[in-house]
């Protein structure tokens, strides 16, 4: 052991270079393959920014207009690429402005490394200028965090940060570096982290559980799969497809699982949850074996737990042991990486099909189509619907676009109606429901996959929460397509007020500015559509543009998202109107 340690030390010190902490930070990032980062400078992080200036050919830094914009951009980047997003911010307000994004990344399992400057170590605890205890503040919403007070800690801590952020169930890591540690010189060398002794990234898979799960699935008459973002994070899209095709199992997605399986796949029966599709919600309470794959039974998915899938035996494929039995009791828990566990189970599955069972989904789909979908896609009323906007986007992009949605009615319409042909195409703030997420996330997404069309679908409310990021588009020329669905309301809240608060529209009416002028002020081509006959042309123009484009669609003011599982109701009591 000792000799091993010595060897590692010697290996490490083979080519040491004397650098300051700030330069070491950049060198670590380059070692981790980072070439793009987002952030906002300030006093306590200036030494790092000075190095960013020197290394600008190797590491491109995107200046956003607010730290929240920076972190959401990094999230958008991470969600479409699967790589860890990197964010810089200064101490105090810079750091606290990251908190919403950190919490969002934590609950949606997004790998991020956030690097914040901190006051000099001799000032810690003295209420110095722009001192804030960001490690304390971010503790409950980070996968890991750490404060560096000595330059020599930088390589090891940053290596650990990247390993932790990305491995197992990913999440955000925050590293706070005091200003003196950024200035301090030391002998730098780097070694990637491959193991943290107190942390097991992927739990061991028990083969007997795989066998038990296979037996249960093979004996099922009405098996039903619900897949989540775990499939995308684990890059197990192909394995999922092979598995469900072999077993012939109708499969539904959670909001974050969307695009892991093509929307039009014959076994894809829609989305579960509060505003999900009718059939998968109702039939959750009729299946005999419920197979959950990389999803966590969020309350927006399950509705009332005491009436959720009580008749079913539950098989849960999951990487995070803390999720097992957290909300829904499992019959068989298959721990491990889904790519691996699905690969192992598929050979044990009998080739099968369940035509009658699948037909039940189709019948209920018809019902939803008649009651809800037709009115959205082919409205007879004058006002434009959010559904038809999504439908038009689908046909003009052939389902190849990345759809980044904000939070509210438009988000649910995007999730319900977008057609996804490729994985990693649905970027939305799921667990936290952060308004203001979409515009900066779309900027990050576009930079992550510059060859793909990236369309942000945003409400008039959420748009104004991070509208300043139009400045980032202006400066970086990120060719993001922005679609604001303007209903002049905080629509989702208004819908609840209509349904559950006797239409008392408390503070949900929006007096909006001229969005076209604002976009034009930032040099972005802008079009407003308020009549159906102009919609298709406008979207065509938007998709044809090689630059950023802003499209405002004036939507029917008081439209609602249906179906809906009211809070506290059972999934099978989903309302069609």
């Amino acid at each position: 052991m000792e000799t091993l340690k010595k060897e590692i030390k010697e290996k490490k010190s083979s080519k040491p270079v004397r650098v300051a902490g700030a330069e070491a930070v950049i060198k670590c990032l380059l070692e981790e393959g980072v070439h793009l980062a987002y952030g906002y400078p300030g006093g306590a992080i200036m030494p790092v920014y000075d190095e960013l200036y020197k290394y600008k050919d190797k590491l491109h830094h995107v200046l956003t207009r607010h730290e929240q914009g920076a972190i959401h951009a990094a999230q958008g980047f991470a969600r479409v690429t699967g790589n860890t997003g990197v964010v810089f911010a200064t101490s105090g307000p810079g750091a606290t402005n990251l908190v919403t994004g950190i919490a969002d990344a934590q609950i949606d399992s997004t790998p991020l490394v956030c690097i914040t400057g901190q006051v000099a170590s001799h000032l810690l605890g003295s209420d110095a200028f722009q001192e804030t205890d960001i490690v304390g503040i971010s503790t409950p919403v980070t996968k890991w965090n750490y404060q560096i007070t000595k330059a020599s800690e930088i390589p090891e801590v940053i290596a650990k940060a990247f390993y932790i952020a990305k491995s197992g169930r990913p999440g955000p890591v925050l590293i706070d570096i005091t200003k003196d540690a950024q200035f301090e010189e030391f002998d730098f060398s780097y070694k990637k982290c491959e193991n943290v002794r107190s942390y097991r990234a992927v739990p061991e898979t028990d083969i007997t559980q795989i066998e038990a799960a296979a037996k249960l699935i093979n004996s099922a008459k009405k098996p039903f799969v619900i897949f989540g973002q775990g499939v995308i994070i684990g890059a197990a899209e192909k394995e999922l497809k092979t598995f469900i095709e072999k077993a012939g199992i109708p499969s539904a997605s959670t909001a974050l699982g969307l695009s892991a399986l093509k929307t039009k796949h014959p076994l894809h029966v829609g989305m579960v949850g509060m505003h999900g599709n009718y059939a998968p919600n109702v039939l959750t309470n009729e299946c005999d074996v419920l197979i959950a794959i990389g999803m966590r039974f969020d309350d927006r998915v399950t509705g009332n737990l005491s009436t959720y899938a009580k008749q079913a035996k539950v098989v849960h494929f999951e990487i995070d042991p803390a999720e097992i039995d957290k909300n829904v009791k499992t019959t068989v828990a298959v721990l491990g990486d889904v790519k691996d566990t699905l690969t192992k189970i598929t050979p044990l599955i009998q080739q099968n099909s369940h035509p009658h069972w699948l037909d039940q989904f189709h019948k209920l789909y018809k019902k939803e189509e008649e009651a809800v979908i037709n009115n959205q896609l082919n409205p007879t009323k004058e006002g434009l619907t959010m559904g038809e906007v999504l439908h038009t986007i689908n046909s003009q992009t052939n389902g190849e676009a990345v759809i980044v949605s904000d939070v509210g009615q438009h988000q649910m319409f995007a999730c319900r109606y977008a057609n996804f042909e490729q994985t990693r195409s649905n970027v939305t703030s799921g667990g936290l429901g952060t308004m203001g997420f979409a515009l900066p996330a779309a900027i990050g997404a576009k930079m992550g996959v510059p060859n793909r069309e990236v369309i942000a679908v945003i409400g008039d409310g959420g748009y104004q929460m991070t509208i300043q990021e139009l400045g980032t588009i202006l400066q970086t020329k990120a060719a993001v397509k922005i679609v604001v669905l303007n209903n002049s309301f905080l629509g989702m809240v208004r819908q609840w007020q209509e349904l559950f608060f006797d239409r008392r529209y408390a503070s949900t009416v929006m007096t909006n500015p001229d969005f076209i002028k604002i976009a034009e002020g930032y040099g972005i081509e802008a079009v407003r559509v308020s009549e159906r006959k102009n919609l298709s042309n406008a979207i065509e123009k938007m998709v044809a543009s090689t630059e950023a484009f802003f499209l405002e669609v004036v939507i029917e003011k008081e439209d609602n998202v249906f179906p809906m599982v009211p809070t506290g109701a059972s999934v099978s009591d989903i309302r069609l109107c």
Binding site: M1, V135, G136, T139, P140, K143, W144, N145, Y146, Q147, I164, N195, V196, R197, S198, Y199, R200, S306, D320, P321, A322, I324, D325, K326
Partner: protein, 176 residues
């Protein structure tokens, strides 16, 4: 809606790396579920450089299982366990400061004998009684001494040794 299962007392033992800020991270998990921590102790464990947190809480078993899962998920937590009262041997320590005026009070002297308590310091103005026992033992002594006007009273959190084995050393070997 919380399913109101019977609450029970549990002792949670958490073996961790020795890192600043971990207490914050662990207590936040109890806080998030609105669980009151009845007592807490932190110390070095039987393994070099490994710390042990001992929390006492009263919650339904269903809940403590989930909490332990979430504690264990923290990067620097090596292992977390929960045990019922029957599975552990535990003790608490308390000290009472009283005026020297009561030093020769016979009733006090008798109480001390019964409670296996003893005097650790005597000065001209005060004396200090120390005792070790179960929480209830200390509660009882507290009630008995309270009428004498306690100048100060302090008690420790619970320390506990489990009857079942906690395979922590083996686990660490595996990690290394």
């Amino acid at each position: 809606m919380l399913i109101m299962e019977d609450k029970q007392k549990f002792t949670v033992s958490v073996y961790t790396e020795n890192n600043i800020g971990l207490l914050n991270r662990l207590s936040a998990i109890f806080l998030k579920r609105h669980i009151n921590i009845e007592s807490m102790t932190v110390c070095e464990s039987e393994i070099d450089h490994v710390h042990r947190f001992t929390f006492v809480v009263e919650v339904p078993e269903e809940q403590i299982r989930k909490v332990v899962g979430q504690l264990e998920k923290q990067i620097e937590v090596i292992r977390a366990f929960y045990h019922t009262e029957e599975e552990i041997i535990y003790q608490e320590t308390a000290m009472f400061k009283l005026s020297t005026a009561y030093l020769y009070d016979e009733k006090i002297q008798n109480k001390l004998k019964l409670r296996r308590a003893h005097i650790v310091t005597i000065t001209t103005s005060f004396f200090i009684i120390e005792t070790t026992g179960l929480k209830e033992d200390i509660d009882r002594l507290y009630e008995k001494l309270k009428p004498y006007g306690l100048l100060q009273f302090v008690r420790s959190g619970r320390i506990a040794i489990t009857r079942p084995k906690m395979a922590i050393s083996e686990l660490l070997q595996e990690f290394n």
